[in-house]
Symmetry: C2
Subunit: 248 residues, 2 copies
Amino acid sequence: MEDNKFSETHRAVYYEGDKSGRVTMAMLINMIILVSTDQSDHLGLTEKHLSDLGFGWVITQYLIDVERIPHIDEKLTLTTEAVSYNRFFCYRDFWVHDEEGNECARVHAVLVLMDHETRKMVRVLPEVIEPFGAEYTRRIERLENPVGISDEDTVDFKKSYDVRFFDIDPNQHVNNSRYFDWLLDSLTEEFLMSHNLKHMNIKYEKEIHYGHKIDSIVVIKNEGLLTHHQIKIGDDVYCEADCEWTER
Amino acid sequence: MEDNKFSETHRAVYYEGDKSGRVTMAMLINMIILVSTDQSDHLGLTEKHLSDLGFGWVITQYLIDVERIPHIDEKLTLTTEAVSYNRFFCYRDFWVHDEEGNECARVHAVLVLMDHETRKMVRVLPEVIEPFGAEYTRRIERLENPVGISDEDTVDFKKSYDVRFFDIDPNQHVNNSRYFDWLLDSLTEEFLMSHNLKHMNIKYEKEIHYGHKIDSIVVIKNEGLLTHHQIKIGDDVYCEADCEWTER
């Protein structure tokens, strides 16, 4: 079977780390998007090329497994592979390895192709995905949705965030790593310094724009080892996530 | 004369850019601090070593001149030199060059040594600065202070920001680049997309901590070519800055 993986090395620098010196989830996500962008550029399928066709890739879901969050100053290997696609979805995997070759994290991502004009999902064009070696499949993955938060839940924390000018990245969207800062910052410093994220399921529901004011809401369960998150504007849910934690 | 400059290359990646694809000021500052940290590590004078002695460097002022803000995907050369020191201050210069060797930005920084216990400035210890090749001088630079904002000024914009968990960096402080996001985000998208920063004078007055809620206040003068900024908590000024702009 052909190996369609694409890898590059990346030094985690101090401004990619949090107070504990560990790489932040936001920066981990930024890094994996970097390697997939570099793969696209390598194949001549740049964002600009896609944008000129009137389209852009949009991530709708990440399933993240963390073995060990890397520290700053580690030399990491970032790897990605566009594994398969069907009519509407593309499935891409990512791996982050440390210098000894140990897996630090792996991420499974679901992407759709969006029409820039209508802002709606369109059928995946084979010509923009097949060069990556992704195989066509009729199977649509049935991935679990985040549990979310119901009216019966008692909200543990709620914080509001204004979307800033610098949250918008060169692709003209709120950089999807920013959601991780909003989702996790709503937990306390004490919680974040005493827990390690093991698994995260995050689903993006609606586009957030510059100037929006969002609420990040958390319900803590299972004695702090499970957290349910929502990002809302008013009563509308823009993003949901579940996180599984271990004590540090 | 001995050359005490230290340089490294850095690829500006997409998550270091704003909507226009230009490197953000916050990331430019992060990059120059990275090269000075690497110089310290290179000389065996790590942050940890200094911290074990009970001290840390704190930046009190930056004078920034921008020729051209680099774009993402440019391969930059970051250079730094600890130029001189006196009893209380250390003066360090930074340069950012593009691949053709053109100067994109230069920064003059004033640093003090802080006692971790008392959180107060102490006399500069020759042994932590001389290995950088900095020369002792009795001269204290008389740098202009930012003009600031007076009661007579009409405030054009005011936005509030909560200091987040992820604003704290591995050195246990609010990363000093975050101030740039707070200062500049308070301007409008329209302003930021139609102006280029040419010069900035920023002075840090007091330490900001996790959990603080700060106000970022702007007065626009000279038909938008000059902006005066303050970061305040209540009536107390924590940071002041002046920015000079050209139209894009």
